[in-house]
Structure formats: structure tokens, C-alpha cells
Amino acid sequence: MSALEAVPRIESRSNRGSATWMVVPALVLLIGFFALPYLTIITMSLREASTRAVYGEGLTLSHYTTALGDFYIWGILGRTLLIGATVTVLSLLLGYPVAYHLAKSRSRWTSLLYIFVLSPLLVGLVVRTFAWMIILSNNGVANQALKAIGLITFPLQLMNNSLGVTIALTHVFLPFIILPLLGNLQAISPDLAMASRSLGASRMRTFWKVTLPLSMPGIQAGTILVFVLSISAYVTPAMLGGTGGRTMSVLVVQYLVDNFRWPAGAALAIIMAAVAVMFVGLYLKLTARAMRRLP
């Protein structure tokens, strides 16, 4: 091997070494603030329940078997996943056109639109949820408006159920799908769409056959983000969900904080996390397969 050939290899080894070191802070953070707490929660979920101590002496799987054999818990888990899926689909349907417009627009008003997109994140969570309560309550703005134009005579139940939670979560998580999509759409070369048009494809066909497939990585990232955030949201379901829109996060907090049932609450948290990982994994696999099949 010549000296010239050896140089890049030495550089590459050195790069590999420094790259490994660059991972260390994140790894420490992950172990310290993710793995260890999760390990603690898993351990707690295996403790016996007690009302005369924080937890009992022995270890048990009963919290898992009880939860998994309880239709009430399954119902709440199903509702949580349904809310997550609905919020994700709605966010995608509402967010894609906005991201597309922002990516293509050269208007001087674009920065204003950016502010609108980010606006849900600029207001405190509790304040924002209270605002939704004012809008969605039985005597709220939405019902008053519908009554005023004669569409309803009795107020619609817009909160204290899954509907209110879905509306408010879609509002707050919209930026989380728009921003990854925007980055992705901006990275797509405009030459590709132009080539498609010059070969005779219509605007719509170009979108379906060129732009949409190329924006799949952005869709995948954004939808996962919104889904995970939706199913783990606490404040919005707690304030707007009532009993009819109770989600797993609310139930877990109720077990842990309101009822001081740390072992049973920890088991519910682990079940929720496992289901989330399973769904996200399945979604990643399906979307990755779909992306491989794209033209």
C-alpha cells in the first residue's frame, strides 16, 4: 500500500474515534435520564401493593395481569390510540397543504405564516387549554355561535369527551407535523416537478407521482412525532376529556399521584409505553416498506 493510500485510512480511523466520543454525552444522558428511570419504573411495577407502606415486600406480576384482564383499561387504551391516530391523520391533512404552501411560497408574508404555524406553541399549555374550554363548553363560544345561526337548539357535547381532546390536540400538534414536512419539501428539487410537467403530467399527477412520494420521509417523521405526543399528552385530556375522554396518561397519573398506587400505576405506564413502541415499530416497518415500493 502506498503512503498516499494510507492517509485517508488514518483520517477515517481518527474520524471514527472522534465520532464515537461525540456520542458519549448523548449516551450518558440517555442512560441517566431514560434507561435508569425506566428500570426504576419496571422494578416498581413488580412490587406488591400495600396501604401500610409505599409498596409491599415481595415481587409480583399481578399488576400486569389485573390490568391486562380488565376491559375498562383496554377501553381506555383503545380510546388513547384512537385519539392519537385521529389527531395524526387530521394534523397531516391540515398540515400538509400549509407545509407545501410555505415550501413553495416566495411571498413576503411567508414569515407571518410561520408565526401562525408556531402560534400554538407560543401560549402556555394550561392557558391554551382553558381557552379551548371557553370555546367548547356547553355555553361556550362554539355552541353559542351554532345556536345563534339556528343550527342547534340544545348545546352539543364538544368537551368532556374524545372530541374535545382531539380538537385541542390537533391544534397544538399541528406545528410538529408542518415543520418536518416543510424541511422535507424544501429539500425536493423543483427540477423534478418541472421535468414531470414538461413530460406532459398534469399538476395533480405531478403531485401524486413526484412530490408526495418524495415527501414520505417528512410525513413519516411528522406523523410519528404527532402520534407519540398525542398518546402521551396529559394536561389537555385531563382538562378537556372529563370522564368520557379519559386517556391512559390521565389514568396513570391518577393511579400514581391521586391514589398513591405506585406499583399499579408503574405497571400501567409500562403497558402504555410497550403498546406505543409496538405501534410505532409497526408503523415504521409499514411506511419503510411502502417507501421502498415507490417509483
Binding site: A49, T51, R52, A53, V54, Y72, F130, M133, I134, S137, N138, N139, G140, N160, A238, M239, G242, T243, G244, R246, L251, Q254, V257, D258, N259, F260, R261, W262, A264
Partner: protein, 344 residues
């Protein structure tokens, strides 16, 4: 003089350390006092703690949160609690008491306990309910034709059907209401089957996690009647809201802030002095003026102006229904589960 980067860094580190270390040192030796947010934190910061310092020399640190947060911190603290004194609703304090985190107060170090209404001093000094916020029936004066006079009105007045607000089971208010209903309609405050049957008759009702949320439901008109504490309703009245609150003829409920000595705390003498100060007649009177609690000290002066807005004072303190929570601790989880499943 020209500073090098290294000299600047050393200088800054020393300066920051010199500012921080004395605080850390004092933090290690001072009493940490838990209290709630809002009006409570304001009163503690502006009046109570400065008063405590000038009366006793103790310089406590304030920790603002919820009773349940304090429980979590004491539990997580194991044999070294961050607090030497706990404040929380009596039903929540009962959980920690059952788990062995508390020990009795030495009442010789709390002379003001002698003047406290006896019903608020737990047996063997295992906790003193020092701050009392009575709960009555609050209603919208512009939307209710017949003002309530009895808890039974919730069931009997057709105006209230579907327009009642209740606390959800995570709030002490709901547990108190459950036991009241058990007592009113059943064989006693532990007759939970009867209580569930009767409360289900009130469905559909608005459920709220805390008093502020009940107040919001009343203001919006989603609920026109609700059991709420005087503090919340008087605060709403001060803002001009069309709400009133009555003491039902069967008696009132109350959020009773139970103060307990934490066995694993390190500042027990300071904790006794703090409780003694809280129980002081003037401090109790100041609290009543600030957020409409009912003085737990029998020698607190209650003038006519004050008693108009805070009527459950003096001899009327006997109207407060206090329950024993020691045995409830074992049933709490089952009752919360049942509420979640049946009150939907």
C-alpha cells in the same frame, strides 16, 4: 488590567461559588415549608413567613406545590425527608400516617394547640388540622330560582338536574362528598354502596379536578350549583361574579389542612415552632381575611364584617363534618376505581 480567558473563567467560578455556597449551606440547615400556589403562596411569602421569622428567628424556605406532590417527595425521600412538617388535606395525610412517615407532635412545644378547636387536633397529637376551608353549596344567583338550603336539594330540586358540578374523585372534595352522601342517605360515612347509588342519580354532572375548575364551570353556566369551598366563591364574588354560597342545614364539609410532624425530617423543633405560629390567633385571623378560611383558633377575633363573608366561625365550627380517614386508606384505591367506572 487585561484579563486572560483562563483568569476570567477562574474569577467567574469563584464569584458564582461564593454566591451559591452560603445559600446551599443555609438550605441544609433551614426548615422547608410546603404550601399551595395562588393566594396561599402569596400569603405565605408576604405575610406568614416574614412574621414567623420575626417571631421565632426561623428562616424557612418555601416549597409551593400540591399536597400530593409533598407526599411523593416525602415517600421518595425515604429516611431523609425534604420536609420536617407536612401540610395536606387530612385524607391525604392519613396515607402517609398509615405508612409510618409521621410521628406525634409534642404539644408542650405547640402552646397554641390548647386554643385550637378540639375537633381539629387528632388523637394523640398525630396531626393538627390547622387551616380550615369550609365547603358549602355554591350556586349561580342569576340562574337559580330557589336557593339551596339543604344537601338534599341536589336530588330534589329539578332546577339542578344535569346542572350540578362535582369534584372528580382525585380531589379531596369528591371523597368528602361521597362520605357525606353515605352519611345522609345510608348507615354512616362508610356506607359507600348507598353513596354511589345516590350520586349516580345526579348524573350527568360536570366533574372538575380542582376548585378553580368548578368555579370556571359555574361562571360558564355549565353548572349552576356545586359543592365548593368558601375561598373560591368569595374570590369569585370579589371579581363581581353572580355566585353565592350557603351552609346547608345538615352541616358543611371542609378542606382541612392537616399539619404533621415528619419522622424522617431534621428540623423538628423548627417544625413545632412553625405549627405553633400557624395556630396563632392573629395569624388565623389574617388567613381568614386573606383567603376566607375559618380560624381554627377559638380565641381569634371574628368581627361582624368578616363573619358575613366567612360565616362558619366560632361556635359554628361545630357544623363542620370531620371524618376519620384511618380506615378509609385501605379502601381508597378501590373507591377511586369504582368512581371512574361508574360516574361516567
Amino acid at each position: 488590567m487585561k484579563l486572560t480567558r483562563r483568569e476570567f473563567a477562574v474569577g467567574m467560578t469563584t464569584a458564582i461559588a461564593s454566591m451559591t455556597l452560603p445559600r446551599l449551606a443555609s438550605a441544609q440547615s433551614s426548615l422547608v415549608v410546603p404550601t399551595y400556589g395562588g393566594l396561599w403562596a402569596k400569603f405565605w411569602e408576604e405575610k406568614l413567613l416574614p412574621g414567623l421569622t420575626s417571631a421565632t428567628g426561623i428562616q424557612p424556605q418555601l416549597d409551593v406545590g400540591l399536597g400530593k406532590d409533598f407526599v411523593a417527595k416525602i415517600r421518595a425521600g425515604g429516611d431523609r425527608s425534604p420536609y420536617s412538617i407536612f401540610m395536606g388535606n387530612e385524607n391525604i395525610a392519613a396515607v402517609l400516617r398509615a405508612e409510618g412517615f409521621f410521628e406525634p407532635f409534642d404539644l408542650t412545644k405547640v402552646p397554641n394547640a390548647q386554643k385550637t378547636f378540639p375537633q381539629f387536633v387528632n388523637k394523640d397529637a398525630k396531626g393538627i388540622r390547622a387551616v380550615v376551608s369550609p365547603i358549602g353549596l355554591a350556586y349561580r344567583i342569576d340562574l337559580v330560582k330557589t336557593a339551596p338550603t339543604s344537601w338534599h336539594d341536589l336530588w330534589e330540586n329539578p332546577e339542578f338536574k344535569g346542572k350540578t358540578g362535582l369534584y372528580q374523585i382525585g380531589n379531596t372534595g369528591a371523597v368528602l362528598f361521597l362520605r357525606l352522601v353515605a352519611e345522609l342517605f345510608g348507615s354512616g360515612p362508610d356506607d359507600f354502596d348507598t353513596a354511589f347509588t345516590k350520586i349516580k342519580e345526579l348524573l350527568p354532572f360536570t366533574q372538575a379536578s380542582w376548585s378553580g375548575e368548578v368555579a370556571t364551570a359555574l361562571i360558564r353556566g355549565d353548572a349552576i350549583i356545586a359543592p365548593v369551598d368558601w375561598t373560591e366563591i368569595m374570590t369569585l364574588q370579589d371579581k363581581g361574579a353572580p355566585v353565592a354560597i350557603v351552609a346547608p342545614k345538615e352541616g358543611v364539609l371542609a378542606f382541612e389542612q392537616s399539619f404533621n410532624l415528619v419522622a424522617t425530617g431534621t428540623e423538628k423543633d423548627a417544625a413545632h415552632a412553625y405549627l405553633n405560629y400557624i395556630l396563632d390567633a392573629n395569624v388565623q385571623q389574617d388567613m381568614a381575611k386573606a383567603f376566607y378560611t375559618s380560624p381554627s383558633n377559638s380565641s381569634s377575633v371574628v368581627d361582624e364584617k368578616m363573619s358575613v363573608r366567612t360565616p362558619i366561625v366560632g361556635p359554628r365550627m361545630a357544623e363542620i363534618k370531620s371524618y376519620d380517614w384511618n380506615s378509609y386508606v385501605d379502601k381508597a384505591a378501590e373507591i377511586a376505581d369504582r368512581w371512574n367506572r361508574e360516574m361516567a
